[in-house]
Symmetry: C2
Subunit: 191 residues, 2 copies
Protein backbone atom coordinates (compact mmCIF):
# COMPACT_ATOMS: atom_id res chain seq x y z
CA UNK A 1 0.00 0.00 0.00
CA UNK A 2 2.81 2.39 0.92
CA UNK A 3 5.47 2.89 -1.76
CA UNK A 4 8.96 2.01 -0.58
CA UNK A 5 10.52 4.79 1.47
CA UNK A 6 13.23 5.39 -1.08
CA UNK A 7 10.57 6.23 -3.67
CA UNK A 8 8.88 8.79 -1.42
CA UNK A 9 9.49 12.50 -1.69
CA UNK A 10 11.27 13.62 1.46
CA UNK A 11 9.88 16.41 3.66
CA UNK A 12 11.42 19.83 3.21
CA UNK A 13 11.09 23.37 4.49
CA UNK A 14 11.14 26.70 2.65
CA UNK A 15 11.60 30.18 4.14
CA UNK A 16 9.02 32.82 3.20
CA UNK A 17 9.13 36.51 4.02
CA UNK A 18 5.56 37.07 5.17
CA UNK A 19 5.79 40.87 5.11
CA UNK A 20 7.52 41.42 1.77
CA UNK A 21 5.96 38.39 0.06
CA UNK A 22 9.30 37.09 -1.12
CA UNK A 23 10.88 33.66 -1.01
CA UNK A 24 14.64 34.10 -0.55
CA UNK A 25 15.48 30.82 -2.28
CA UNK A 26 12.71 30.14 -4.81
CA UNK A 27 13.02 27.58 -7.56
CA UNK A 28 10.42 29.35 -9.68
CA UNK A 29 10.12 33.15 -9.73
CA UNK A 30 7.48 34.63 -12.00
CA UNK A 31 7.55 38.40 -12.67
CA UNK A 32 4.72 40.16 -14.52
CA UNK A 33 5.23 43.74 -15.62
CA UNK A 34 2.66 46.23 -16.86
CA UNK A 35 3.48 45.24 -20.45
CA UNK A 36 2.49 41.65 -19.70
CA UNK A 37 -1.05 42.87 -18.96
CA UNK A 38 -1.79 44.33 -22.39
CA UNK A 39 -5.37 43.54 -23.35
CA UNK A 40 -6.56 43.12 -19.77
CA UNK A 41 -7.39 46.63 -18.53
CA UNK A 42 -10.35 48.75 -19.61
CA UNK A 43 -8.15 51.78 -20.37
CA UNK A 44 -5.55 50.50 -22.84
CA UNK A 45 -4.12 53.98 -23.44
CA UNK A 46 -3.47 54.46 -19.72
CA UNK A 47 -1.61 51.14 -19.65
CA UNK A 48 0.58 52.24 -22.58
CA UNK A 49 1.42 55.49 -20.74
CA UNK A 50 2.38 53.45 -17.67
CA UNK A 51 4.65 51.26 -19.80
CA UNK A 52 6.23 54.17 -21.73
CA UNK A 53 6.44 56.85 -19.05
CA UNK A 54 6.31 54.76 -15.88
CA UNK A 55 9.18 52.42 -16.71
CA UNK A 56 6.99 49.35 -17.27
CA UNK A 57 6.80 48.66 -13.53
CA UNK A 58 6.54 45.25 -11.95
CA UNK A 59 2.87 44.38 -11.45
CA UNK A 60 3.22 41.19 -9.46
CA UNK A 61 5.62 38.41 -8.55
CA UNK A 62 5.04 34.78 -7.64
CA UNK A 63 7.57 32.60 -5.79
CA UNK A 64 7.28 28.82 -5.75
CA UNK A 65 9.21 25.69 -4.92
CA UNK A 66 7.55 23.06 -7.11
CA UNK A 67 6.54 19.55 -6.08
CA UNK A 68 5.55 16.64 -8.35
CA UNK A 69 2.41 17.63 -10.28
CA UNK A 70 0.64 14.47 -9.27
CA UNK A 71 -2.64 13.88 -7.41
CA UNK A 72 -2.17 13.98 -3.64
CA UNK A 73 0.59 16.61 -3.81
CA UNK A 74 -0.03 20.30 -3.11
CA UNK A 75 1.51 23.32 -4.79
CA UNK A 76 2.00 26.47 -2.76
CA UNK A 77 3.31 29.93 -3.52
CA UNK A 78 3.68 33.38 -2.07
CA UNK A 79 2.80 36.32 -4.27
CA UNK A 80 2.97 40.10 -4.12
CA UNK A 81 0.74 42.37 -6.17
CA UNK A 82 1.90 45.99 -6.22
CA UNK A 83 -0.45 48.93 -5.56
CA UNK A 84 -1.40 51.20 -8.42
CA UNK A 85 -4.03 52.06 -11.00
CA UNK A 86 -4.31 51.88 -14.77
CA UNK A 87 -6.48 54.89 -15.40
CA UNK A 88 -8.84 54.39 -12.47
CA UNK A 89 -8.67 50.58 -12.44
CA UNK A 90 -6.82 48.93 -9.56
CA UNK A 91 -3.82 46.73 -10.42
CA UNK A 92 -4.78 43.07 -10.77
CA UNK A 93 -3.33 39.70 -11.74
CA UNK A 94 -4.26 38.09 -15.05
CA UNK A 95 -6.43 35.53 -13.32
CA UNK A 96 -6.96 31.96 -14.35
CA UNK A 97 -9.07 28.85 -14.21
CA UNK A 98 -7.33 25.65 -13.25
CA UNK A 99 -6.50 23.40 -16.20
CA UNK A 100 -8.15 20.65 -14.14
CA UNK A 101 -11.29 22.67 -13.40
CA UNK A 102 -12.57 20.58 -10.49
CA UNK A 103 -9.81 21.74 -8.13
CA UNK A 104 -10.01 24.35 -5.36
CA UNK A 105 -7.48 26.93 -4.13
CA UNK A 106 -6.89 28.45 -0.70
CA UNK A 107 -5.72 32.08 -0.43
CA UNK A 108 -4.42 33.46 2.84
CA UNK A 109 -3.88 37.22 2.80
CA UNK A 110 -0.79 38.17 4.79
CA UNK A 111 -0.63 41.91 4.11
CA UNK A 112 -2.48 44.70 2.36
CA UNK A 113 -6.04 45.00 1.15
CA UNK A 114 -7.96 44.09 -1.95
CA UNK A 115 -10.33 41.59 -3.42
CA UNK A 116 -10.23 38.14 -4.84
CA UNK A 117 -12.67 38.35 -7.74
CA UNK A 118 -14.01 35.07 -9.06
CA UNK A 119 -16.23 33.83 -11.87
CA UNK A 120 -17.52 30.61 -13.34
CA UNK A 121 -17.59 29.72 -17.01
CA UNK A 122 -21.35 30.19 -16.83
CA UNK A 123 -20.97 33.80 -15.68
CA UNK A 124 -21.52 33.66 -11.92
CA UNK A 125 -19.45 36.32 -10.13
CA UNK A 126 -18.14 36.71 -6.58
CA UNK A 127 -15.79 39.14 -4.84
CA UNK A 128 -14.28 38.36 -1.45
CA UNK A 129 -12.40 40.93 0.60
CA UNK A 130 -8.69 40.29 1.16
CA UNK A 131 -7.17 41.81 4.28
CA UNK A 132 -4.45 40.56 6.59
CA UNK A 133 -5.55 37.26 8.11
CA UNK A 134 -8.46 36.70 5.79
CA UNK A 135 -8.61 33.30 4.09
CA UNK A 136 -10.60 33.07 0.87
CA UNK A 137 -11.78 29.73 -0.46
CA UNK A 138 -11.87 29.40 -4.24
CA UNK A 139 -14.07 26.35 -4.86
CA UNK A 140 -13.58 24.05 -7.84
CA UNK A 141 -14.63 25.55 -11.20
CA UNK A 142 -14.13 29.23 -10.19
CA UNK A 143 -11.59 31.38 -12.05
CA UNK A 144 -9.85 33.83 -9.71
CA UNK A 145 -7.98 37.14 -9.92
CA UNK A 146 -6.36 39.22 -7.18
CA UNK A 147 -6.97 42.98 -7.08
CA UNK A 148 -4.98 45.40 -4.93
CA UNK A 149 -7.17 48.27 -3.73
CA UNK A 150 -4.62 49.93 -1.44
CA UNK A 151 -3.15 53.25 -2.59
CA UNK A 152 0.31 52.38 -1.32
CA UNK A 153 0.68 48.90 0.15
CA UNK A 154 1.47 45.61 -1.64
CA UNK A 155 -1.04 42.77 -1.41
CA UNK A 156 0.74 39.66 -0.14
CA UNK A 157 -0.93 36.24 -0.35
CA UNK A 158 -0.01 32.66 0.41
CA UNK A 159 -1.78 30.17 -1.87
CA UNK A 160 -2.20 26.40 -1.93
CA UNK A 161 -3.77 24.28 -4.66
CA UNK A 162 -3.70 20.64 -5.78
CA UNK A 163 -0.43 20.01 -7.63
CA UNK A 164 -2.15 18.53 -10.66
CA UNK A 165 -4.47 21.56 -11.05
CA UNK A 166 -2.37 23.51 -13.56
CA UNK A 167 -3.37 26.89 -14.99
CA UNK A 168 -5.71 27.94 -17.77
CA UNK A 169 -5.01 31.62 -18.55
CA UNK A 170 -6.37 31.52 -22.09
CA UNK A 171 -10.08 31.47 -21.30
CA UNK A 172 -9.82 34.49 -18.99
CA UNK A 173 -7.72 36.39 -21.56
CA UNK A 174 -10.71 36.02 -23.87
CA UNK A 175 -13.64 36.18 -21.43
CA UNK A 176 -12.35 38.70 -18.89
CA UNK A 177 -14.25 39.07 -15.61
CA UNK A 178 -17.82 40.43 -15.49
CA UNK A 179 -16.83 43.25 -13.10
CA UNK A 180 -13.84 45.53 -12.60
CA UNK A 181 -12.52 47.29 -9.50
CA UNK A 182 -11.88 51.04 -9.67
CA UNK A 183 -10.52 53.59 -7.20
CA UNK A 184 -12.26 56.93 -7.55
CA UNK A 185 -11.85 59.82 -5.13
CA UNK A 186 -10.12 57.47 -2.72
CA UNK A 187 -13.00 54.95 -2.71
CA UNK A 188 -13.21 51.48 -4.23
CA UNK A 189 -16.03 50.66 -6.61
CA UNK A 190 -16.82 47.27 -8.16
CA UNK A 191 -18.80 47.62 -11.37
Amino acid sequence: MTPSTTALLKPFGVALELDTGRMPEPRNHLVRRASDLRGYYADAAALERLIADGGDPVHYEVFEVPVPNQPGHLMYCISTLQPGVVGEECFFTKGHYHAVPGTAEVYLCLRGEGYLVMKTAEGAFAAERMTRGRMVYVPPHWAHRSVNTSPDEPLVSFCVYPAEAGHNYGDIAVEGFPKRVYRRDGRCVIE
Copy 2:
Protein backbone atom coordinates in the same frame (compact mmCIF):
# COMPACT_ATOMS: atom_id res chain seq x y z
CA MET B 1 -17.95 19.37 -18.09
CA THR B 2 -18.69 22.12 -15.60
CA PRO B 3 -21.49 21.31 -13.15
CA SER B 4 -24.34 23.80 -13.26
CA THR B 5 -23.57 26.94 -11.29
CA THR B 6 -26.31 26.26 -8.78
CA ALA B 7 -24.61 22.99 -7.86
CA LEU B 8 -21.24 24.65 -7.25
CA LEU B 9 -20.00 25.59 -3.80
CA LYS B 10 -19.84 29.37 -3.61
CA PRO B 11 -16.64 31.20 -2.69
CA PHE B 12 -16.36 32.38 0.90
CA GLY B 13 -13.96 34.13 3.23
CA VAL B 14 -12.97 33.40 6.81
CA ALA B 15 -11.15 35.68 9.26
CA LEU B 16 -8.09 34.26 11.03
CA GLU B 17 -6.10 35.89 13.81
CA LEU B 18 -2.57 35.23 12.59
CA ASP B 19 -0.92 36.20 15.89
CA THR B 20 -3.15 34.37 18.36
CA GLY B 21 -3.93 31.45 16.05
CA ARG B 22 -7.67 31.78 16.56
CA MET B 23 -10.58 31.83 14.15
CA PRO B 24 -13.23 34.17 15.57
CA GLU B 25 -16.09 32.34 13.84
CA PRO B 26 -15.02 28.69 13.44
CA ARG B 27 -17.44 25.96 12.55
CA ASN B 28 -15.18 23.31 14.09
CA HIS B 29 -13.09 24.01 17.20
CA LEU B 30 -11.00 21.16 18.55
CA VAL B 31 -9.44 21.51 22.02
CA ARG B 32 -6.91 18.99 23.35
CA ARG B 33 -5.94 19.17 27.00
CA ALA B 34 -3.05 17.46 28.78
CA SER B 35 -5.39 14.60 29.75
CA ASP B 36 -6.09 13.90 26.08
CA LEU B 37 -2.39 13.10 25.60
CA ARG B 38 -2.23 10.19 28.07
CA GLY B 39 -0.05 7.45 26.62
CA TYR B 40 1.89 9.78 24.35
CA TYR B 41 4.70 11.24 26.50
CA ALA B 42 7.75 9.40 27.74
CA ASP B 43 7.21 10.55 31.34
CA ALA B 44 3.66 9.44 32.18
CA ALA B 45 4.01 10.45 35.85
CA ALA B 46 4.95 14.00 34.87
CA LEU B 47 1.87 14.19 32.68
CA GLU B 48 -0.33 13.07 35.58
CA ARG B 49 1.17 15.78 37.80
CA LEU B 50 0.43 18.34 35.09
CA ILE B 51 -3.17 17.14 34.93
CA ALA B 52 -3.66 16.97 38.71
CA ASP B 53 -1.64 19.98 39.88
CA GLY B 54 -1.49 22.08 36.74
CA GLY B 55 -5.23 22.22 36.08
CA ASP B 56 -5.16 19.95 33.01
CA PRO B 57 -4.11 22.85 30.77
CA VAL B 58 -5.04 23.24 27.14
CA HIS B 59 -2.34 21.67 24.98
CA TYR B 60 -3.53 22.75 21.56
CA GLU B 61 -6.51 24.05 19.63
CA VAL B 62 -7.51 23.68 16.00
CA PHE B 63 -10.01 25.94 14.22
CA GLU B 64 -11.62 24.95 10.92
CA VAL B 65 -14.43 25.85 8.57
CA PRO B 66 -15.09 22.59 6.75
CA VAL B 67 -15.64 22.13 3.04
CA PRO B 68 -17.02 19.04 1.24
CA ASN B 69 -14.63 16.12 1.86
CA GLN B 70 -14.42 15.36 -1.85
CA PRO B 71 -11.45 15.19 -4.22
CA GLY B 72 -10.51 18.60 -5.58
CA HIS B 73 -11.52 20.43 -2.38
CA LEU B 74 -8.98 21.58 0.20
CA MET B 75 -9.33 21.63 3.97
CA TYR B 76 -7.49 24.32 5.92
CA CYS B 77 -7.12 25.14 9.59
CA ILE B 78 -5.25 27.37 11.98
CA SER B 79 -3.85 25.78 15.10
CA THR B 80 -2.08 26.87 18.27
CA LEU B 81 0.15 24.60 20.31
CA GLN B 82 0.97 25.98 23.76
CA PRO B 83 4.52 26.08 25.16
CA GLY B 84 5.43 23.73 27.98
CA VAL B 85 7.12 20.50 28.93
CA VAL B 86 6.02 17.15 30.30
CA GLY B 87 9.02 16.27 32.40
CA GLU B 88 11.66 17.48 29.92
CA GLU B 89 9.68 16.69 26.77
CA CYS B 90 8.32 19.60 24.76
CA PHE B 91 4.55 19.83 24.28
CA PHE B 92 3.42 18.20 21.04
CA THR B 93 0.29 17.29 19.10
CA LYS B 94 -0.85 13.68 18.85
CA GLY B 95 0.23 13.47 15.25
CA HIS B 96 -1.43 11.49 12.51
CA TYR B 97 -1.20 9.86 9.13
CA HIS B 98 -3.84 10.76 6.62
CA ALA B 99 -6.59 8.16 6.26
CA VAL B 100 -5.91 8.45 2.51
CA PRO B 101 -2.14 8.00 2.86
CA GLY B 102 -1.18 9.33 -0.57
CA THR B 103 -2.05 12.93 0.32
CA ALA B 104 0.30 15.77 1.26
CA GLU B 105 -0.08 18.65 3.74
CA VAL B 106 1.33 22.18 3.74
CA TYR B 107 2.24 23.84 7.06
CA LEU B 108 2.95 27.55 7.25
CA CYS B 109 4.34 28.67 10.60
CA LEU B 110 2.96 32.08 11.58
CA ARG B 111 4.44 32.45 15.06
CA GLY B 112 6.71 30.74 17.54
CA GLU B 113 9.33 28.06 17.13
CA GLY B 114 9.42 24.30 17.07
CA TYR B 115 9.61 21.31 14.81
CA LEU B 116 7.37 19.36 12.55
CA VAL B 117 8.48 15.78 13.15
CA MET B 118 7.52 13.25 10.51
CA LYS B 119 7.79 9.51 9.93
CA THR B 120 6.77 6.88 7.44
CA ALA B 121 5.17 3.55 8.23
CA GLU B 122 8.52 1.98 7.29
CA GLY B 123 10.35 3.96 9.97
CA ALA B 124 11.98 6.85 8.06
CA PHE B 125 12.17 9.99 10.21
CA ALA B 126 12.48 13.71 9.46
CA ALA B 127 12.35 16.88 11.54
CA GLU B 128 11.87 20.29 9.93
CA ARG B 129 12.28 23.53 11.84
CA MET B 130 9.17 25.66 12.31
CA THR B 131 9.72 29.38 12.74
CA ARG B 132 7.68 32.37 11.60
CA GLY B 133 7.47 32.32 7.80
CA ARG B 134 8.77 28.82 7.37
CA MET B 135 6.69 26.51 5.20
CA VAL B 136 7.09 22.78 5.72
CA TYR B 137 5.98 20.30 3.08
CA VAL B 138 4.64 16.99 4.40
CA PRO B 139 4.72 14.69 1.37
CA PRO B 140 2.20 11.88 0.87
CA HIS B 141 2.66 8.89 3.24
CA TRP B 142 4.40 10.85 6.04
CA ALA B 143 2.79 11.04 9.49
CA HIS B 144 3.36 14.43 11.15
CA ARG B 145 3.39 15.96 14.61
CA SER B 146 4.00 19.55 15.73
CA VAL B 147 6.37 20.21 18.65
CA ASN B 148 6.65 23.56 20.43
CA THR B 149 10.22 24.19 21.59
CA SER B 150 9.73 27.73 22.84
CA PRO B 151 9.80 28.28 26.61
CA ASP B 152 7.00 30.82 26.50
CA GLU B 153 5.47 31.42 23.07
CA PRO B 154 2.64 29.54 21.34
CA LEU B 155 3.36 27.82 18.02
CA VAL B 156 0.81 29.03 15.45
CA SER B 157 0.42 27.22 12.11
CA PHE B 158 -1.81 27.47 9.08
CA CYS B 159 -2.36 24.10 7.39
CA VAL B 160 -3.88 22.96 4.10
CA TYR B 161 -4.55 19.40 2.97
CA PRO B 162 -6.75 17.63 0.42
CA ALA B 163 -10.30 17.53 1.76
CA GLU B 164 -10.65 13.78 1.25
CA ALA B 165 -7.42 13.04 3.20
CA GLY B 166 -9.00 12.41 6.60
CA HIS B 167 -7.02 11.52 9.73
CA ASN B 168 -5.54 8.29 11.02
CA TYR B 169 -4.55 8.85 14.67
CA GLY B 170 -4.68 5.19 15.64
CA ASP B 171 -1.45 4.03 14.04
CA ILE B 172 0.57 6.81 15.67
CA ALA B 173 -1.04 6.13 19.07
CA VAL B 174 0.41 2.62 18.76
CA GLU B 175 3.67 3.30 16.87
CA GLY B 176 4.70 6.64 18.33
CA PHE B 177 7.51 8.57 16.60
CA PRO B 178 11.11 7.25 16.50
CA LYS B 179 12.46 10.41 18.17
CA ARG B 180 11.33 12.83 20.88
CA VAL B 181 12.16 16.49 21.46
CA TYR B 182 13.40 17.57 24.89
CA ARG B 183 14.36 20.89 26.43
CA ARG B 184 17.29 20.54 28.80
CA ASP B 185 19.16 23.45 30.35
CA GLY B 186 17.43 25.77 27.90
CA ARG B 187 18.52 23.78 24.82
CA CYS B 188 16.50 21.57 22.49
CA VAL B 189 17.57 18.01 21.89
CA ILE B 190 16.05 15.51 19.44
CA GLU B 191 16.77 11.94 20.44
